[in-house]
């Protein structure tokens, strides 16, 4: 785990060029990067609450907000925010006042905490953990506690129903969510979100979604489950304003109410950004020459120094990742205003009867797919025909004589080339693992290579 790799860059810059002391430079750098993350965390709700109202308006043949801020009503979210800050902060007498006050913060903290491990660029990640995805899923699962506590502590029947529905839904939907997240992990062979994205550089066919048909289907299953885990329509049973008034947030008003929505929109962005990283190439643009140029620019600061071009490259990568995430958020908004809400039993049946078996099957299929692909794409050659050995490269391949069967084996030099190569960090290991690696001069290593290849065969 590498704490604040970019912060060291900017700390050096502040110390050497601006001339601050070490302590002040570190505090300033932490503030800069912290406020950048808060900006992303707050910016997503501001943009998408306006966006959702606009899109909903268009879908329902209305105009949506038009007045505030000129042509498109683009200041609507800001006006909403100012209105919500001015509202009175009410606590119902029946509520458990401490939990009632704390619950919105828990939702926000959980959604914001996930951004700690979310990589926006190759070096633009607060904590580049080896198990980034695992940490992210763990922190995101805290959000449900805030919702349940809000529902329980409000002291209202509507809220309690909303909280219970949320609990039941979340406990069920976490299973297919983790299963679907594991599938690209098994393909990439790493839990590190930075490494997973680095594997997908080059043309768009290197993206994991195009790796095999199972991963392609997994993307859609993951997206459905992610929509449900953000309690977005058609799975917004915890809210269900037509049955439960407002569900878990019935009793809330003002800023505390808006914290729930900040958390919800930020969580939507986070799960969509994770989908973009796992399946859609993350910060890679999908255009090989552009990615290569960005990589060159990024390599300028490989020694850890501050380079404006490298920052620009990371900023472009972050722009690409955020656009991909926002495109998926747009789909979630589109789905919300197109599909009707399910009933709670339908939600549970969708998860337990369809999504869990589907994700199990996809998991199995993704594991088996490389074997099947190898069987059909490798060039096979006879090593023994009717008990007679066939010589390859002057060597007899089998010692079996008294068999009338024919044995076919894949040509050693024509192994199916894997679509995704092993991470390039460890050259020796990748030479050992990859069957199609070129023979190396080092005698000992070549022996090991042959042994490994033989063992795999």
């Amino acid at each position: 785990m590498n704490f604040f790799p970019i912060a060291t860059n900017i700390v050096d810059y502040l110390q050497d060029s601006v001339g601050l002391t070490n302590g002040l430079a570190m505090v300033l750098a932490a503030l800069i990067h912290g406020s950048l993350l808060v900006g992303i965390f707050m910016g997503t709700p501001v943009v998408w609450i306006w966006g959702e109202r606009k899109i909903a308006g268009r879908i329902q043949d209305r105009l949506g907000p038009t007045r505030v801020g000129g042509r498109f009503g683009w200041l609507q979210s800001v006006a909403d925010g100012i209105k919500l800050i001015q509202k009175e902060d009410l606590v119902p007498p029946a509520a458990d006042s401490m939990l009632y006050r704390m619950a919105p913060y828990m939702v926000c903290v959980a959604a914001f905490g996930t951004m700690m491990v979310l990589p926006f660029g190759e070096t633009w990640v607060a904590v580049a953990s080896d198990i980034g995805l695992y940490v992210l899923v763990a922190i995101l699962s805290l959000e449900v506690i805030g919702i349940i506590l809000a529902g329980y502590s409000s002291g209202s029947k509507w809220s309690l129903f909303g909280g219970m529905r949320e609990a039941a839904q979340m406990v069920s939907y976490e299973i297919p969510l983790s299963l679907c997240a594991i599938i690209p992990i098994t393909v990439a062979g790493s839990l590190n979100l930075v490494e997973i994205t680095q594997l997908q550089s080059g043309w768009a066919n290197n993206w994991l979604i195009f790796h095999d048909p199972f991963v392609l289907i997994t993307f859609f299953v993951y997206f459905t489950v992610a929509t449900a885990s953000c309690k977005r329509a058609p799975f917004d049973l915890a809210e269900a304003e037509s049955e439960l008034v407002g569900g878990f947030h019935t009793e809330y008003s003002g800023m505390r109410w808006s914290f729930f929505f900040m958390g919800e929109y930020a969580a939507m962005f986070v799960v969509c950004a994770v989908a973009a990283i796992l399946f859609l190439g993350g910060w890679n643009s999908g255009i090989a020459p552009l990615d290569a140029a960005l990589l060159e620019m990024r390599a300028l600061s490989a020694d850890g120094s501050f380079q404006p071009m490298s920052y620009l490259s990371n900023a472009i990568g972050m722009g690409i990742l955020i656009s991909k995430g926002w495109a998926l958020v747009f789909v979630q908004v589109w789905v919300r205003w197109t599909l009707p809400r399910l009933r709670i039993d339908q939600v549970m049946i969708t998860c337990l009867k369809y999504l869990i078996p589907m994700s199990c099957f996809l998991f199995l299929g993704t594991i088996c797919f490389p074997l099947v692909k190898f069987y059909f794409s490798a060039q096979w050659e006879p090593v023994m025909e009717n008990g007679k050995q066939v010589e390859i490269n002057g060597e007899k391949q089998w010692d079996l004589i008294d068999s009338n069967t024919s044995i076919w084996a894949p040509k050693a030099d024509k192994w199916a080339k894997p679509n995704i190569s092993a991470p390039a960090e460890d050259v020796e290991t990748s030479q050992l693992i990859l069957p199609n690696s070129t023979p190396i001069d080092d005698g000992e290593l070549a022996d090991v290579d042959r042994q490994v290849a033989g063992g795999t065969r």
């Binding site: 785990m1 590498n2 904590v127 940490v135 763990a138 922190i139 699962s141 805290l142 406990v171």
Partner: protein, 204 residues
């Protein structure tokens, strides 16, 4: 005072404060909330020790799993609006006795570690391999690989210097699989016992 120390004190204070809150709170849901604070802060301490796998596991199992079930259980079984637990003085005395005993145990463990030796490694700058206990900065960011290898029976940290006749460690994959199948059987059995005896008409 370094920034790590400031962060450590923040997390340590909230872990202790959360633990006190669990003991002193009257309502069960508030206890659950303080438990979240305490366990989450301990997870933060694990993060600071670069044990991110343990930290994430702590969050996902205790905070995300057990406590959700706890609050869920309170909501489903509560007869009144806010369930309270009245602690009797005898229970308080017993709890205090257990707590003090545990405190002495932890204090004994802490004193048995050679912190001077560990301090050389952390602050001296020369990354010598520290045998035994203590903080090891050379292992940063590589928590999951050694764990996975140990699961499969590869222990590079132990096997490399070990005598030949000691043999290789056997790995934890087999016990892990046995435990997971055991849990699956328990789950199937529990759902069989808990299912409705009369077949209800499907509503869909």
């Amino acid at each position: 005072m370094t920034y790590e120390k400031i962060l450590f004190f923040i997390f340590a204070m909230s872990a202790c404060g959360g633990a006190l809150g669990v003991v002193l709170a009257q309502r069960v849901a508030r206890m659950a909330f303080w438990l979240i604070v305490s366990l989450g802060s301990v997870a933060g301490l694990y993060f600071m020790l670069h044990a991110d796998f343990v930290a994430a596991t702590q969050i996902i199992i205790y905070v995300g799993g057990t406590l959700v079930l706890l609050i869920f259980g309170i909501m489903l079984t509560a007869t009144g609006p806010h369930v309270k637990i009245q602690t009797s003085p005898g229970e308080l005395v017993m709890g205090a006795a257990v707590g003090v005993t545990l405190l002495f145990l932890i204090q004994g463990t802490v004193r048995s570690v050679d912190w001077n030796k560990a301090a050389i490694v952390t602050s001296g700058g020369e990354f010598q391999q520290n045998e035994g206990q203590g903080y090891n900065p050379t292992g940063q960011g590589n928590t999951i690989r050694p764990l996975g290898m140990a699961l499969l029976g590869l222990r590079p940290d132990k096997d490399l210097g070990a005598p030949e006749e000691a043999g290789l460690s056997s790995g934890y994959l087999f016990p892990f699989e046995i435990v997971s199948i055991h849990l699956l059987v328990v789950l199937v059995g529990a759902s069989y016992l808990a299912r409705a005896k009369q077949r209800t008409r499907p509503t869909v």
